[in-house]
């Protein structure tokens, strides 16, 4: 019987060994994931003991600050999407999420400093972040969009700093956790619950996550592709007869433009011309050109992700037939882009073909003002050669001065732009305007879309004009 007892003892002790192995596995392998699980309140409790840092705009205006244990957003709905929010129940979004580690001083050296402060009983302060946004531009863009749905993306083509990202409809991030009524089951419903269920999708950042057909603004890319393939295109004359038949598919123009040169074709936004240029280029070239401008790519791959970004999409060349190619060349078909992407296209043309890496972070400072981190501009993509950029720029200037973009004229400043009226299944065309100014030495690039707003030149161009005017006008004090 002793043998049995011995065997029994091995079994019992063996089960303890299994216990040791399993608990080792749980702690070593599951540990890191569990630490950041949203149900784990430890992080929240730890954070609550730290005074979260402030987010400032480029001029030192406060965009997000901690007051009495709560987070306050002075710009409210004007910058809700890009700044984001911090909420125990609903997580964290936008820059608040992106800069968590800075705002809570959880980066490497900061952690050591924090632990020392904690031991000594000093107040625990996070770091402050200065971003490239301009709060006045955010407010202006919100005002200009008014009650309409749409988005505005503004950036500085020289260095990639994003000056404004606005998306409407918007919401007030200060009140999302407040109760807003009761559901049919009697449960309390918060403002956020209502926002989530709102069919207008107010939580979506249309400026970076929107998926819109770009309409005629995409002709900038078609033009770039055509010029890169054959620089002689700029000297060609085209004959626009009001429509084009591609393999039985009829592609129409708003009017028969007759004989137009390259620059006029862009200025009046001739569909026939650019569809033809697209077909001549071929689907492969067309796709590569779009990609060169950043389509299908996310600028925040491999760097700290600052915004929720939906890269533009385009049918793959193998699957694109001729009618699709023609439509895509004029920004219809299956092309879908977000407004920031189109602003980057304008920035490429403005900056001699080089797209600087778009970013929001300028610098991180500790509570005493010492700079911990300073960002520096760097190039992202070389979309086109400088000569090509120069030609397209010339065409865009003509588009504003004598073409569809007349509403964007600013007295005393040469504005370059391209309008777009994108057909879409949901009603009136989306009104687009994409442009930059001043054309000689561009300091601002902007993309505006008003959903189902009608004609780009009439609805979107005035918004872009006011935004560019605000940036360039020295009297307003903006850069």
């Amino acid at each position: 019987m002793k043998a049995n007892v011995r065997r029994l003892s091995y079994m019992v002790l063996g089960s303890f060994v299994i216990l040791c192995l399993y608990i080792g596995y749980v702690i070593v392998f599951m540990g890191p994931t569990l630490a950041s699980d949203p149900h784990n309140r430890r992080l929240a409790a730890y954070e609550a003991s730290i005074h979260r840092g402030t987010i400032f705009d480029r001029r030192g205006e406060i965009l997000a600050v901690s007051k009495e244990g709560r987070r306050v957003y002075p710009l409210g709905e004007d910058a809700a999407h890009v700044i984001g929010f911090v909420s125990q129940r609903y997580g964290r979004t936008g820059l608040e999420a992106a800069y968590d580690r800075y705002l809570l001083a959880m980066n490497g050296n900061d952690k050591i400093k924090m632990n020392i402060n904690r031991l000594l009983g000093r107040p625990l302060l996070g770091n402050n972040v200065i971003v490239s946004l301009d709060s006045r531009l955010q407010q202006l863009a919100t005002q200009l969009l008014g009650d309409r749905k749409g988005a505005v993306a503004v950036l500085d083509p020289r260095n990639g700093e994003i000056l404004a990202l606005v998306s409407k409809p918007s919401y007030d991030p200060n009140i999302i956790e407040q109760p807003a009524g009761r559901s049919s089951g009697g449960k309390v419903v918060t403002v956020y619950d209502l926002l989530q269920n709102d069919k207008e999708a107010p939580l979506l950042n249309r400026a970076t996550q929107g998926a819109y057909p770009p309409g005629s603004t995409f002709k900038l890319i078609t033009a770039a592709g055509a010029l890169t393939t054959d620089p002689g295109v700029s000297r060609r004359i085209f004959n626009c007869q009001g429509s084009l038949i591609i393999d039985g598919f009829r592609l129409t123009d708003t009017a028969a433009h007759g004989r137009v040169d390259f620059f006029q074709a862009l200025a009046v936004s001739c569909n026939s011309t650019f569809a033809r240029l697209g077909l001549e280029m071929g689907a492969e070239r067309f796709y590569q050109t779009a990609r060169a401008f950043g389509l299908t790519l996310n600028p925040w791959t491999d760097v700290l992700n600052e915004v929720a970004y939906r890269p533009g999409t385009l049918t793959h060349p193998e699957k694109m037939n001729k009618p699709q190619l023609g439509s895509s060349a004029i920004g219809q078909g299956e092309v879908l882009v977000n407004p920031l992407q189109m602003a980057l296209v304008a920035a490429a043309i403005a900056n001699e073909g080089v797209i600087m890496h778009p970013h929001l972070l300028i610098r991180v400072q500790d509570p005493e003002g010492r700079v911990i981190l300073q960002s520096s501009p760097r190039p992202w993509l070389t979309a086109i050669k400088p000569e090509v950029a120069r030609i397209i720029k010339e065409a865009m200037v003509e588009a504003v001065n004598s073409g569809t973009g007349k509403e964007a004229i600013i007295p005393g400043i040469t504005v370059a732009g391209k309008t777009g009226s994108a057909q879409n299944p949901r009603g009136k065309t989306h009104a687009w305007f994409v442009g930059f100014a001043p054309a000689e030495k561009p300091r601002v690039a902007v993309a505006v879309i008003v959903e189902n707003g009608g004609a780009g030149g009439i609805v979107a161009a005035p918004i872009a004009r006011e935004i560019m005017r605000a940036v360039l006008n020295p009297a307003s004090g903006m850069e």
Binding site: M1, R7, C20, I23, A35, R42
Partner: protein, 429 residues
């Protein structure tokens, strides 16, 4: 010769007790320094009282030449110290009650080692235990109160008692006695069913009935964790005495059948299995406890957050079943493994006593008690780390819980008595 053997053993015990006392004082000292929540002197006083209790017992044994295993008491003292430190850290009110129960347990231990040295006599009364056990389990069903889904508590005014903890002891006594008497018949068997030789019904009848009744009663009490322990201990003892793997397999099959029945019959069993398999589905509802336990376990990493620096307040009932999670959060993987290893040492010493025992009854008794402690520890720790479903039983000596603590001290007493008998009989021969 017996006298010097006893002194030598007690000397070893004394040295170990010094270490454990130092451990307790360091823990109490850390809590003393850890403001602002604790009425600091209370901790030191409590620690001192606990220490004095263990030392008095040790000195008593020295005086009366007790020749039992010298490791078991220090191991248990270690558990009790850890328990007290953590209960003071979690909630001094619980610690104070636990201290009272600890004193009661030490007193019970003294009673057992003083008056039950001739434990062998107990073998004669096995059917009385069976009866007493059944009555003990019946009481809560009719007069009991429910706690945590199990109607297994008796409210005696000033405090509450859980009879199933003490009936455990009666079960092991009964089984040890019965199996020792009948083991040969049970092992060999006189009939063949399905090619397996099985003993005649009159052989295993009384045992199975007794066990079956206790199981049923536990199920009516809805204390399924205790039922699991009863079952596994039964199987362990049957295996130890008969070495028939067939019985174990039969038992396993019965268990699965029972589990399936329980799953379909009982809502809360279903729930327990669900939150064991995927607690995150119900992370804010039924699975909250398991999920928070996992967070606590991993929060400390290898070395832990340090005593007092963790956040056990997120785990409901952290002072009972989940005290292990709080300990691992603050003492780390290292601390958790250390604690498990101390339990392994306890089980190891217990089985050593069983193997050294002179006759079947003593051997089975020691093996049964050790298996009981070991399996209970395994089941509850496994539940806390989500290796097994949660079963609501206590971690021996560590969890807050009076009945469990006193019962475990009684078991310790019996183990020591058997060990003492082994020593003095081997000394004589």
């Amino acid at each position: 010769m017996t006298l010097s053997a006893a002194s030598r053993l007690r000397a070893v015990e004394r040295k170990l007790l010094y270490w454990v006392s130092a451990y307790l004082l360091i823990g109490a000292g850390t809590l003393y320094l850890w403001k602002p929540l604790l009425p600091a002197l209370v901790v030191l006083a409590g620690a001192l009282i606990a220490m004095i209790g263990f030392w008095i017992l040790h000195l008593f044994w020295c005086r009366f030449k007790f020749a039992a295993d010298p490791f078991l008491l220090p191991l248990v003292a270690f558990f009790s110290s850890t328990s007290l430190i953590f209960l003071y850290r979690l909630n001094p009110a619980y610690a104070e009650r636990q201290l009272a129960w600890l004193m009661t347990g030490l007193f019970a231990l003294w009673v057992v080692t003083r008056y039950f040295l001739h434990y062998r006599l107990l073998a004669e009364y096995k059917y009385i235990y069976a009866l007493a056990g059944i009555i003990g389990l019946l009481l809560p069903i009719f007069f009991g109160i429910e706690q945590g889904g199990a109607k297994s508590w008796l409210d005696l005014g000033f405090f509450q008692v859980q009879p199933s903890e003490f009936v455990k002891i009666l079960l092991v006594l009964f089984l040890a006695a019965f199996l020792a008497e009948n083991r040969l018949a049970l092992a060999e068997g006189t009939q063949r069913i399905w090619g397996i030789t099985l003993p005649a019904p009159q052989e295993w009848g009384p045992m199975l009935i007794m066990w079956g009744i206790s199981l049923l009663l536990l199920i009516f009490q809805k204390d399924l964790g205790a039922a699991l322990i009863y079952f596994t201990t039964f199987l362990a003892m049957v295996y130890a005495s008969t070495a028939r793997v067939a019985y174990v397999c039969l038992g396993g099959a019965l268990f699965l059948a029972g589990a399936a029945a329980a799953y379909s019959l009982f809502e809360h069993v279903r729930l327990r299995i669900e939150i064991w398999l995927d607690p995150w589905q119900q992370a804010e509802a039924a699975g909250y406890q398991v999920v928070q336990s996992l967070f606590a376990l991993t929060a400390g990493g290898i070395t832990g957050t340090g005593l007092g620096a963790g956040m056990p307040q997120f785990i409901p009932a952290v002072h009972t079943d989940f005290i292990f999670a709080a300990i691992v959060e603050e003492l780390g993987l290292a601390g958790g493994l250390g604690l498990i290893m101390i339990y392994m040492l306890f089980v190891y010493r217990g089985f050593l006593i069983a193997l050294a025992a002179k006759d079947d009854f003593a051997c089975l008794l020691a093996a049964g008690f050790t298996a009981l402690m070991g399996l209970q520890t395994f089941i509850i720790i496994a539940g806390v780390i989500k290796l097994l479903p949660l079963t609501g039983i206590t971690l021996p000596f560590l969890s807050y819980g009076g009945s469990s603590l006193v019962a475990n001290f009684i078991i310790l007493g019996f183990l020591l008595n058997i060990s003492h008998e082994v020593q003095i009989t081997s000394g004589r021969s």
